[in-house]
Amino acid sequence: MVKLPVLKPIDGSAGRTADWRTVKPKFIQDKCTKCLSCWLFCPDIAISMSENVNDGFPVFDDDYCKGCSICAEVCPRDAIEMVPDVGE
């Protein structure tokens, strides 16, 4: 079988990319209206939102969130705050 330059998507083919980050999101649930903006804008699909999980509030993936802060920027209610996350 030929080796074509085709990839099937899997989690973490580049390793645990959260190791790259210096900040991580801190979620303030009281302010969140579940508007989905953070879920929509996250470039790494590291935010999941489902009615059945976490009461429908966003869940942040600690393995693949690179700390880009886009979610905090786009959140209209300031429900996400970036806090330092420096490895040991």
Binding site: M1, V2, K3, L4, P5, V6, L7, K8, P9
Partner: protein, 391 residues
């Protein structure tokens, strides 16, 4: 004009048509039976290829073919890469500056292994502005993993088009093809062609089955970021695909010949004396002139032979070494040059002979640029002069 009486079942009609028309009708056979996509942009001297296919689609004669009229060659190749990735047989055609305009995507199609078939009507690059034959465009994509076939006449261009689909789409190959036709000498010159029949084409060429296809239910990504070591691995596999193509071409030609009786060679076509004082190596239309030159020399008592490269990529290195064993000296004709070095074919012939341990005189001649006509008389003169050490 159609001449049709008592034709065998593998022939649908016998007609006098241009090379462009012959290629388009062969492509239509490949496109007809299963879903297929054509996207192309007209450029002299390729225009009639896609006009003919557009006509057939417009007349309802290719009911399963989607014809996408694009605004450029860049879009043409992008569109057929999309359709090929989507899992259907895909076809386009271009020439010279059209190819240069689609160039960014040529590597994507080759190294990405999209089995697209694309006639390339060989035309000189500008400036000076020139629409006539030269092989520069053929060489411009030499190193981007496309199979490359070179036709000598309209019948071979017709047959080769169908054969190219078969080789390109094979799962052990999966590489796109160009089918090279000399501008005007083939593209616009009418000659008799036996058109293959749809029933023959359907037996000869199975449905294209993609290895991967774009499907939201089973998503894949084509050509994403790739690690340096991984790149080496997939590049190496291209050479495996090329080697597989070489084996397959032999099988495909023998199957083709078994039904049609037509055989114009596999990797090369050999003409003239088995062991000759001088051999000429070339490709394209002037290879037929070279055959006449061999005959002419024969009449003068000079033993001569001709080897025509029919499959340029994969390169017929073994066949060139064999030629080196047949001939006392070799003249290589190039209708282009790698400026600052020499004619491309001459360089590759010499490299192959060196690899084969063959130490004979080899001389390259660059001629016929920008559509200059080179006749059998002139080729015979070149060969005679070379024998006399006067070239």
């Amino acid at each position: 004009m159609t001449l049709a009486n008592n034709l065998p079942p593998y022939i649908s009609k016998r007609d006098i048509v241009t090379g462009n028309h012959a290629v388009a009708e062969a492509a239509a056979l490949a496109l007809y039976t299963y879903p297929s996509v054509v996207a192309a942009y007209p450029i002299t001297p390729q225009t009639e290829v896609i006009e003919k296919i557009a006509d057939l689609v417009g007349e309802g004669k290719l009911p399963r073919t989607e014809y996408i009229a694009v605004e450029s060659e860049h879009s043409a190749l992008a569109a057929v890469m999309g359709s090929s990735a989507g899992g259907v047989r895909s076809f386009t055609a271009t020439s010279s500056h059209g190819l240069y305009y689609m160039y960014e995507l040529v590597s994507w199609a080759g190294l990405g292994r999209f089995p697209i078939v694309m006639p390339l009507i060989n035309r000189a690059p500008a400036p000076g502005w020139n629409i006539w034959v030269e092989h520069s465009d053929l060489y411009s994509i030499r190193d981007l993993a496309w199979l490359s076939f070179v036709a000598k006449n309209n019948q071979e261009a017709h047959d080769m088009t169908l054969q190219a689909f078969r080789v390109s789409e094979d799962h052990d190959v999966m590489l796109p093809s160009i089918i090279n036709l000399d501008a005007f000498i083939l593209s616009h010159t009418s000659a008799p062609v036996d058109f293959l029949s749809q029933s023959f084409a359907d037996d000869f060429l199975p449905e294209f089955e993609p290895i991967w296809s774009l499907n939201p239910l089973d998503p894949v990504s084509y050509g994403p970021l790739w690690s340096p070591s991984g790149i080496t691995e997939i590049r190496e596999d291209i050479d495996v695909g090329m080697a597989n193509a070489k084996k397959l071409i032999s099988k495909v030609i023998s199957e083709f010949t078994e039904v049609t009786g037509r055989n114009t060679g596999e990797m090369v076509e050999v003409y003239g004396d088995d062991h000759a004082d001088i051999g000429i190596i070339s490709m394209g239309t002037w290879s037929e002139e070279a055959e006449l030159a061999v005959d002419l020399l024969g009449e003068q008592g000079i033993s001569a032979g001709a080897t025509r490269i029919r499959t340029y990529r994969p390169f017929p290195a073994k066949e060139i070494i064999d030629a080196g064993k047949r001939y006392g000296r070799i003249l290589v004709l190039d209708r282009s040059s790698s400026w600052g070095f020499q004619g491309q074919l001459a360089g590759e012939v010499k490299a192959s002979l060196y690899d084969g341990g063959i130490d004979i005189p080899v001389k390259g001649i660059v001629a016929g640029l920008g559509g200059v006509d080179v006749t059998f008389n002139e080729i015979a003169d070149m060969m005679t002069a070379y024998i006399k050490e006067d070239l």
